[in-house]
Amino acid sequence: MTKNRILIVEDDKGIADGIAVNLQYSGYDYAVYTDGQEAADALREDHGYDLALLDIMLPGLDGFDLLPHMQNHNIPVIYLTARSDATSEIKGLRGGAEDYITKPFDPLTLLVRIEKVLDRCGKLNKILRVGDIVVDCENHSVQKNGAPIALKPLEYELFTLLARYKNRTLLRERILNEIWGSDYFGDTRTVDVHIANLRRKLAISAQLVTVPKYGYRLED
């Protein structure tokens, strides 16, 4: 199973590191550059990336100038920028970028957007592994130690979400939103019930941890 590889070009070390550590813990490989020109030069030798996260205001080449370089190698781009004015957004997206996130942003939103773009471009990793459980997103199947486990559709969605963002605490509300949609009239107890089912069916009571007052975390 190959990990998705992400190119980060961001000149602020604090932000670059913050993104990197989140990518790392979510199972992505990555490379960081702090200068647009350096990134463009390095791309000639090594362009094996599934996605690029570009800051707009960069030394050397700026984010917009880097786009053609990315397009040459079929690397989809998500812009990260502090500018929130509408003209930049249109320019960025018109230029051919897949998405656009304004700072400040929370890591989970970034990860979800990355996933959506990768999925749209057909580059998303279709196999998820958590401990001895394997999820095949292509075939919608879940196996534990090689033995297939039958899950109801919502249980499958829930487990996939937890597995994708494993080792990360997900808020109950967030889970409800992502799986059941934001117009769902029920409350978060639905989430609790489905979690209990998952624990039972997959025998992961130890790995599927309850974080009091927050939500749940699936550990590796």
Binding site: D12, G14, A82, K103, P104
Partner: protein
Amino acid sequence: MKTKQNLWLKISILCIGVLCLAVMVCGALITLPAWPFTPLWRLVLAWGISILVGGVLIFWLVRRALKPFMDSRQTTAATTDRRQEMFIRGLMHELKTPLTAIMLHTDTLLSANLSQADARNSLAHIYRQSRWLDQMSQKLYKLIKLEEATFQTRPEDIPALLEDVRQSTADTLRERQTPLKITCATDSLSLDYDLIKTLLINLVDNASKASAPGQQILLRAYGNTLEMKDSGYGIPADEIAFVTDPFYMVDTSRNKSRGGSGLGLALSKRIADAHKAQLHIESAPNAGTTVRVVFPEKTSQ
């Protein structure tokens, strides 16, 4: 600015009113002999027309006279508004970056199961960004305080001031390996000690950041002038006019990685302005920069 505009508007209306009245009275006196012989409606009509014509004429004349004056006031107001807007935009932008980093790292610490080493790394970033925010707010505070400053200038010993600046910057200069040479040919100048010390420390800091390790930077005092010279990075010709704008940075990331906020020169310019001193900047890429603060004539002794 706005109240002054209103004042002039009021004065001009008053003038017009008075002149109209004068025209009316003159007109009445001139035509007085004819009153008994003219029907009332004719009198009223004549007065009406004369007031109207006279009023319009006077109004037009007054407006023409005041126009250049009002126009310049309007452009000054517009420029000030634009400057304020740019300042706020610059500030917002400068705040977003450290805030993003802090939020990213705190969110990560709270939600991801980080290893000890990674957790420490995130905490270090948060600390660094917080310190930077603190530095910036201190500079901003000084900038704002200068607006309302009623500061005092006194004759100050220049050699002592320059040495004080050397002491204050010794550590950073040693770290960057950019030795400072001081030449002082002025005994005394009338200035605010603390403000000029801040200004000189900023110039020394900039000169040092622009220089490569081993390059010397030069601080001189002669006549009414304090001069800071370096042989480092330099400023492109088309950017020299902007370097004293708040938050403006030539080559942003190079500056930021050394803790720059773009406020130093803005503050220095304000300090110079407050002293009615001129701030001159000469520079060329890779040929170094010279910054001169020239105090008004009567301050040297």
